[in-house]
């Protein structure tokens, strides 16, 4: 926990609309923060493009280009602060961008963008090839990927901040009726009630982080529950 770490943590709870406002004003810290946010959620975009039939390098270029476009041009002006969801905004903006880009495809050169995201493209390919033909639309898959990215981000954060996270992680997705507290306690050398507290504490942290993370992607924090339900609907479809 260096002093540097405290600033981003504070921003972690700041909504993207606020960040966008700041970035528009030329705040470099805000641009950085936006970049962090984007780095979490670029993958659903990439996979969306791949599903549309773009080749891997093309999709890569497009996502990179899209991000630069957002920052360089007035892409952020499109943000509707009142109702916006980052998820919907990104997809809409990307579609827009791709349509435009299609027209001037040949006028751009790969790598010609000022901001280059350093991300693991390879990992983003997982599952793309093996997924069977599916009547579901790429938009739906985008939402699915989004939810996965969101949860991954939260779990990654927790893995970083919580000690022994791997030990307790499996219980996050279990209904509490199925959790054998006594057994866990015995294995971990603690009392049953301490095990119970440990599990609940982690669940609570998870919920907090999840809500924070979702709140970041919303224009209005009061709608966290709606967004959660929407994502759940997508995941359980």
């Amino acid at each position: 926990m260096s002093s540097r770490a405290s600033t981003p943590t504070l921003f972690a709870t700041t909504r993207w609309t606020v960040i966008c406002d700041a970035a528009r004003g030329g705040d470099t810290a805000a641009v950085e923060a936006l970049e962090t946010l984007f780095s979490t959620y670029w993958r659903p975009l990439y996979r969306y493009l791949r599903r549309l039939g773009r080749s891997a390098p093309d999709a890569e270029d497009l996502v990179q280009g899209f991000f630069a476009h957002l920052l360089a041009h007035d892409g952020l002006c499109l943000v509707d602060r009142a109702v916006g969801r980052f998820r919907a905004f990104l997809l809409g903006a990307l579609k827009n961008y791709v349509a435009n880009e299609w027209r001037r495809e040949h006028r751009h050169k790969r790598g010609g963008f000022a901001t280059h995201l350093s991300v693991d493209w390879q990992n983003a390919e997982t599952g793309l090839r093996i997924e069977p033909a599916d009547p579901r639309t790429p938009d739906l898959f985008y939402d699915l990927d989004w939810a996965a990215a969101l949860l991954d981000k939260v779990l990654d954060d927790l893995a970083e901040s919580e000690t022994n996270f791997d030990r307790w992680k499996p219980f996050l997705s279990l209904g509490s009726g199925r959790i054998p507290y006594a057994e866990i306690g015995k294995e971990s050398g603690m009392s049953e009630s301490a095990a119970r507290v440990a599990v609940h504490r982690l669940r609570k942290r998870f919920r907090q982080r999840l809500r924070q993370e979702i709140a970041r992607t919303l224009g209005d924090g009061a709608r966290v529950d709606d967004e959660m339900r929407a994502l759940f609907a997508v995941l359980s479809a």
Binding site: M1, S3, S6, T9, L10, T13, T14, N123, T126, G127, I130, A147, A148, L151, D152, L155, A159, K169, P170, L172, S173, L174, G175, S176, R178, M190, S191, E192, S193, A194, R196, V197, A198, H200, R201, R203, K204, F206, R207, Q208, L210, R211, Q212, I214, A215, G221, A222, V224, D225, M228, R229, L231, F232, L235, S236
Partner: protein, 760 residues
């Protein structure tokens, strides 16, 4: 791709998503996050609208690193922060600005916070600092890394063991604070924190008072309760009735009420409703917990536990009994590395646990024993005539005792229950004596019979009264099986007690069949007590009934197997040889004696002296019957006859001790049993029905001083001078029977030369 197919979500059974490095079912993950957090809480979370943005808070506390918002409630917003200087985590509570606007808030805040900062207890969240920055009132507290009780309760009730391990530390915290005169005023699951080691810590002590919730303080300072304070009612479900009705008189007992609500919720997963249903009706738990919870939830503060420590002790006792090692283990392991004070906080008192009896139950048992012993003692030493008086006196005493206990109990529901139980117990005893006397003294003159009937009826009423009271007090927990078992246990003990101890007196009037019945009843009652008590061992009185009933059965069997004369056989002489040498003789004291040879004495181990029919009267033996009551031939004079077992039936039935019945024509011929002071004799006389004058004109007769008493043996009609009659009066008559009870005093020792003049 094979391994991915294998891994299925243990919750929903669907395959886990490919590629995710966390190998969790995302749908279930989200479902859990959704399920355990209700929408209403979403509003409270900081994700919504933080009162003050963390950045702003950060700006105001340069010495802290504010990292996140932990939660928001009616009492303010809490942030997690790092104190740079000491490198420790702290929780910063920002009090709600809308409350801060109140009059004199700053004063009250400073005063109360200073008191709170002095609280130092392992089960209380420590206050590090407090103050005001730019109009923001804040309290910096110890950061507890864990969950609050609400988080645990969100998924329903806790296991009873867990609830039992959480309550004592809360009691400790309350007890400590109460001793310092600090009342929490807002005990609720949100304020009970459990850290990662399972330690329990109570948060937000006295914050309610600082904020003037319920008009506390703001009312007594400004005279008129503020509107702002009135509008905030704290946490209604958890606040004691007097917190709403009379907030200024709130004391530590309000916290005990709130703790009761929390306890109730932990056990059942629900808040106590109206009408209040005992927890054991909702979930399977020890009924003694009902008693504790319901007492904590008494609407009147006087009826509640007065000290948190008492509640704690009772909970710990039950915890120790219930789980034995496991709970004690949990309780001690909850705080494995706490300070010595902390471990003391959860240590159980082994002696109390081992005894398993609360003081109250001992009291009842002891009372019951004393009274039973007293009654037996009284029964042994009084004549039936006096039974009416004894019953009356005992009844009055018991009545006074229960009344005084009930009056005392105005402040203590525990004593009220004891009083009611004594009433119940003594009602049974009194009724028993009354019935017994009425059945075994058929020769009583009417007024005595009436007196005894009244005493007996009173005993039954008394008993009913006790039953109703106990029932009412326990109505929330009535599972009468324990009581029934205990009743059987008492029966199994009382019957042989009475028949063993009282046999010389009682046996002759109880038919052998009746004795047989009583004997088997004893055994059956003992067995019933053992069985029912075992079934009800977790209920009140259950296991005590098992133990007592079991002991009685064992004693019964010992007696039976050893071939000792069981209580049944009292009064029967079971030896053929006996008869050959036996002569029944009417003694001067009115008893009838059998003379035995030593051989027969050895045989039964009984000296017939002790088997004398202690009739205490002069009687004519009119009939001798066998076991079944059919007449037997038996020559009193020669002692010859053809019976093996015999039974002397005295007819007319034996009158009360101290009186004598005789048949004559107005001439006193007999006496008597000397009892009490030497020289004072009592007897009654029977006048011939034909002797009209006497039956019509019964008066007190004073014998002239110096009159001589003549004693006549009915068998040989030999006269013997006994002494000088000093006084005589005839004080009873029963016209239908022509019986007259005559009492006289006479001076012991023959007075030569003076003839009896006791006639008429």
């Amino acid at each position: 791709m094979e391994p991915e197919k294998k891994s299925l979500c243990p919750e929903c059974g669907n395959p886990l998503p490919a590629g995710g490095e966390h190998h969790l079912c995302l749908a279930c993950l989200m479902a859990q996050a959704l399920a355990s957090r209700t929408a209403s809480e979403g509003g409270k979370s900081c994700g919504a609208t933080p009162l003050v943005p963390p950045a702003e808070i950060q700006a105001k506390f340069p010495h802290l690193e504010v990292t996140e918002c932990l939660g928001r409630g009616g009492m303010g917003v809490v942030y997690k922060a790092r104190q740079r200087s000491l490198d420790r985590w702290v929780a910063v509570k920002i009090l709600p600005p809308e409350r801060v606007g109140e009059q004199k808030f700053a004063d009250r805040f400073a005063r109360e916070a200073a008191v709170l900062a002095k609280l130092s207890h392992p089960n209380i969240v420590t206050v590090h600092d407090f103050g005001e920055v730019d109009g923001l009132f804040y309290i910096i507290m110890e950061y507890v890394d864990g969950v609050n009780l609400r988080d645990l309760l969100r998924e329903g009730k806790l296991e009873p063991e867990q609830a039992l391990s959480v309550v004592p530390p809360i009691c400790e915290a309350l007890c400590y604070a109460h001793e310092k005169g600090i009342v929490h005023r807002d005990i609720k699951p949100e304020n009970v924190l459990l850290d990662r080691a399972g330690r329990v810590k109570v948060a937000d002590f006295g914050i309610a008072k600082i904020l003037g919730v319920n008009g506390v303080d703001s009312a007594d300072e400004t005279g008129v309760p503020d509107n702002a304070t009135q509008s905030v009612v704290g946490t209604p479900a958890y606040s004691a009735p007097e917190q709403k009705s009379d907030p200024q008189r709130v004391d530590n007992r309000a916290d005990i009420y709130s703790l009761g609500v929390v306890f109730y919720e932990m056990l059942t997963g629900e808040l106590p409703g109206k009408p209040l249903e005992p927890p054991s009706r909702k979930v399977r738990i020890d009924v003694r917990l009902d008693e504790i919870v319901l007492r904590a939830l008494e609407r009147k503060p006087e009826l509640r536990y007065q000290q948190a420590s008492v509640l704690k002790t009772q909970v710990e006792t039950i915890a120790a009994e219930m789980g034995g090692a496991s709970v004690a283990d949990a309780a001690t392991r909850v705080a494995p590395d706490s300070s010595p004070a902390g471990s003391a906080a959860v240590r159980l008192d082994p002696s109390a646990a081992a005894l398993g009896l609360t003081k109250r139950r001992w009291e009842i048992v002891i009372w019951g024993f004393i009274l039973a012993a007293a009654c037996v003692e009284i029964g042994l030493n009084v004549t039936p005539v006096e039974c009416g008086w004894i019953i009356g006196i005992v009844g009055v005493l018991l009545f006074l005792m229960s009344v005084s206990l009930t009056v005392l109990a105005g402040i203590d529901v525990g004593r009220l229950k004891i009083a009611a139980q004594i009433v119940l117990l003594d009602g049974i005893v009194v009724a028993f004596i009354g019935i017994w006397c009425a059945f075994h003294s058929p020769g009583l003159p009417d007024p005595w019979a009436i007196a005894i009937s009244i005493g007996c009826g009173g005993g039954i009423l008394y008993c009913l009264n006790g039953l109703i009271k106990v029932g009412r007090l326990e109505s929330q927990t009535t599972d009468p099986l324990g009581y029934i078992a205990f009743f059987f246990a008492i029966i199994s003990g009382i019957i042989p007690t009475i028949f063993y101890w009282l046999k010389p007196w009682a046996a002759p009037w109880l038919s052998p069949a009746g004795q047989q019945f009583m004997l088997w009843l004893t055994l059956l009652a003992g067995i019933a007590a053992v069985m029912l008590g075992f079934v009800a061992r977790k209920l009140r009185f259950g296991w005590q009934a098992t133990v007592i009933g079991g002991l009685n059965v064992v004693i019964w069997l010992l007696f039976f197997v050893a071939g000792r004369m069981s209580p049944l056989e009292a009064g029967s002489l079971d030896t053929p040889e006996l008869l050959q040498d036996e002569t029944l003789e009417i003694q001067r004291d009115g008893s009838i004696a059998c003379q035995l040879k030593s051989s027969s004495i050895n045989r039964t181990g009984h000296s017939l002296d002790s088997e004398q029919f202690n009739a205490s009267s002069f009687l004519q033996i009119q009939k001798i019957t066998d076991d079944q009551g059919s007449p037997l031939k038996f020559d009193v004079e020669t002692g010859r006859g053809d019976l093996r077992r015999y039974r002397v039936r005295l007819e007319p039935p034996v009158p009360p001790m101290g009186s004598v019945t005789y048949v004559s024509e107005g001439t006193m011929v007999g006496l008597i049993h000397a009892k009490g002071e030497p020289g004072v004799f009592e007897y009654s006389m029977d006048h011939s029905p034909g002797y009209d004058g006497i039956t019509r004109h019964i008066e007190r007769h004073k014998l002239p001083t110096g009159a001589q008493l003549v004693w006549k043996n009915t068998t040989d009609l030999e006269e013997e001078k006994v002494g000088d009659i000093v006084e005589l009066h005839i004080d009873r008559r029963i016209p239908s029977h022509g019986h007259i009870a005559v009492r006289y005093r006479y001076k012991l020792g023959p007075a030569p030369g003076t003839e009896s003049t006791t006639s008429k």
